[in-house]
């Protein structure tokens, strides 16, 4: 664990960039320098940043598919189980044959959507490690602008390629300003 002379644990070296475009260009350089444990921070999602960081597609969609299938099966069990087997309701003498199955579709559809939406929301929080009310980046006083108009890039000290001078040089070369060490605690 890297420590500052004052004894603080080092989380990362971070820089601020003047614009979304500058951050986007810088991200490509950091990606190509081979860093793996790093991140950029912006007040809004920057179009194309996933590619600039070398990140692939988010597979959150897999969880949503799982949620949808679960919802569909839940609806099928809740509807057909009691209605066809346990407690057949005879309403208006309507038939019970195979052709009446579409009358069960609306609720199957609704529960598919409902479970998928829950899966989307909770997997978004889960895959992002949220809620997390503490993060080392909040130790940097300039970082408060991240939710307003600040664009930041941080390379974590635990990245195998991290060296203080190398990272500082890289951040300087890509136009980073206010380069600083961010403390872990």
């Amino acid at each position: 664990m890297m420590r500052t002379p004052a004894g603080h644990k080092v989380y990362a070296m971070a820089a601020e960039y003047p614009s979304a475009a500058a951050l986007y260009e810088a991200a490509k350089h950091v990606r190509d320098a081979g860093f793996k444990r790093w991140d950029v921070f912006s007040p809004f999602p920057i179009h194309g940043m996933d590619d600039a960081m070398g990140l692939g597609k988010s597979w959150l969609s897999g969880w949503v598919l799982f949620g949808g299938v679960t919802g569909l099966l839940t609806a099928a069990v809740v509807e057909f189980g009691p209605s066809s087997i346990l407690y057949q309701l005879d309403v208006h003498g309507k038939p019970w044959n195979f052709w009446t199955v579409p009358a069960f579709f609306p609720i199957m559809f609704e529960l598919t959507i409902l479970f998928s939406a829950f899966a989307a929301f909770f997997s978004m929080l889960g895959m992002n490690g949220l809620p997390r009310w503490y993060h080392p980046m909040f130790n940097w006083e300039r970082f408060i602008r991240v939710s307003n108009d600040g664009f930041f890039l941080a390379i974590e000290a635990r990245d195998p390629r991290f060296t203080e001078n190398g990272v500082r040089e890289l951040l300087e070369r890509t136009g980073g300003e206010h380069i600083t060490i961010v403390h872990e605690d």
Binding site: P45, S58, P106, L130
Partner: protein
């Protein structure tokens, strides 16, 4: 002999088509943050307290009426056989319809990459939630024994009671509750980055704590944005069929019966178009005053109003087409009950509801939006929106009560008269709706800051890239140097 081929003369270089900016006066990110958060951070202005006092007392009286109705019985309303569904179900359909515009703006326009939605989606989604809350009140208290409304939920019990899943009313329970839940999730997902903004700007301990809790520790990390954007996209994709299904299912409540004017296959698309039509009118009804009061003209620009007016014109024309088609089919079907019912719609006891509400308010008034000066004049826009708000209520009333007042059996014909409880319960829900909206604009950002910032040119990663610097291709295959 052939003449030498001549190059067609180009008059002048084609002018590059420039888009009208969505945020006017080249406002930057921090201006947007300041202006939008400022609404929430300033002390409540005096007009707010006055408005809230009025709406909250209306809401309170509405709640009193609901309490009176629950404790005394459905007889406090004017409902009598054959008119078993009247103002209550009219109000239900009216409110649930209003919600649809919010989801259309937040989900369908998102999938269609309409960036102008970013200025209006937050308040439209909030409007959806409040409208669905108002809507959900009516079927609940209409069942008469409100304390037994939980029978609608399929829970194992020892009374041998089980739900009929093949009933349109049961579909409605699932559709509306799913719609509300998904709308809350979608709205809250959109709010998280903005709550982080308010958290970072908070000056008092209470605000820091509350916004901190609800922002979930959001820090704008791109590794988070990646999953966030996928979740948002999927929620939009899920909400799109959902919103179309909800009013379709509401229309099944009517279409699956045998009442003339109800038993038609045109109902699902007709109801959905009407819902979006009425909902957009309500969005503008709320946003035009809010924009004037909070000086948000640079964010909700004339272009936004213009586009919403065009959607009102489009969906209003769908609705007018559906009205026409109903009459045509009544005539063409040769069904004498159907013909009588539609004749009764124009010349029966509710004739003026039809002439004023359906014809003038819903079909004719939106036609003003063919003219661009009407779409640009906020007073004309507001007038049309108020017409549509009223007209859509009349439409639902005519469809519901108008279909019931003239039964198959002339001896049971009876015209519906609302009681004071009917009227004040409805006015009370308007109070609930406006009170909730006033609370919303006081405590939460009414414009999605993190989204509207993406509509600013500087948000483009290629904005102002110096010449010579190579930019990454969309596929991300190019490498730097």
């Amino acid at each position: 002999m052939d003449a030498a081929p001549t190059v067609p003369e180009v008059e002048e270089a084609e002018q590059e088509l420039t888009r009208v900016p969505l945020v006017l006066h080249r406002r930057n990110f921090s201006w947007l943050t300041e202006r939008i958060s400022g609404v929430v951070e300033q002390p409540a202005p005096r007009w707010w307290w006055v408005a809230f006092a009025i709406t909250a007392s209306t809401a309170t009286f509405g709640l009193f009426c609901i309490g009176y109705q629950i404790s005394t019985g459905v007889g406090t309303w004017g409902n009598q056989i054959p008119v078993g569904w009247a103002w209550d179900i009219t109000n239900f359909v009216f409110w649930i319809g209003i919600g649809h515009a919010g989801t259309l703006i937040s989900a369908i326009l998102f999938l269609l990459r309409q960036k102008w939605r970013t200025s209006i989606n937050r308040s439209a989604e909030a409007m959806t939630l409040f409208a669905v809350i108002c809507a959900a009140i009516f079927p609940g208290i209409h069942v008469g024994r409100f304390w037994m409304a939980w029978y609608m939920a399929p829970m194992p019990n020892n009374w041998g009671i089980w739900q009929n899943f093949r009933s349109a009313l049961m579909w409605d329970v699932f559709a509306v509750s799913t719609y509300f839940t998904v709308s809350v999730l979608f709205w809250y997902t959109g709010l998280i980055p903005d709550l982080a903004t308010l958290r970072d700007r908070a000056t008092t301990k209470v605000r820091k704590f509350l916004f901190g809790i609800f922002a979930c520790g959001w820090r704008g990390s791109n590794r988070n944005w990646r999953h966030y954007e996928m979740a948002y996209l999927l929620l939009a994709g899920l909400s799109t069929p959902l919103v179309l299904s909800v009013h379709s299912v509401v229309s099944f409540d009517f279409a699956s019966t045998v009442i003339p004017t109800w038993h038609t296959t045109i109902f699902p698309p007709y109801f959905v178009a009407g819902a979006i039509f009425g909902g957009f009118a309500m969005v503008l009804t709320l946003l035009l005053p809010a924009r004037a009061i909070f000086k948000l003209h640079d964010v909700i620009t004339p272009q936004h109003v213009d586009k919403m007016a065009k959607i009102i014109l489009l969906t209003g024309s769908f609705v007018a087409y559906a009205y026409t088609m109903e009459f045509f089919v009544a005539w063409y079907s040769g069904n004498s009950y159907e013909k009588f019912a539609f004749w009764n719609r124009i010349f029966g006891p509710y004739w003026w509801y039809w002439w004023f509400g359906m014809l003038f308010c819903n079909c004719l008034s939106p036609q003003l939006f063919w003219f661009s000066w009407c779409r640009r004049n906020v007073f004309v826009v507001f007038f049309v929106c108020m017409c549509v708000n009223a007209g859509m209520w009349f439409e639902r009333f005519i469809i519901i009560a108008g279909g019931l007042v003239r039964d198959f059996l002339p001896s049971s014909w009876r015209v519906f008269h609302p009681t004071w409880v009917d009227i004040w319960t409805y006015i009370g829900t308007i109070g609930i709706f406006t009170s909730l909206f006033l609370i919303f604009i006081r405590f939460l950002p009414m414009i999605a800051m993190s989204e509207v910032k993406t509509a600013v040119p500087e948000a483009d990663p290629h904005y102002g890239t110096p010449p010579g610097v190579q930019s990454v291709s969309p596929g991300g295959k190019e490498r730097t140097r």
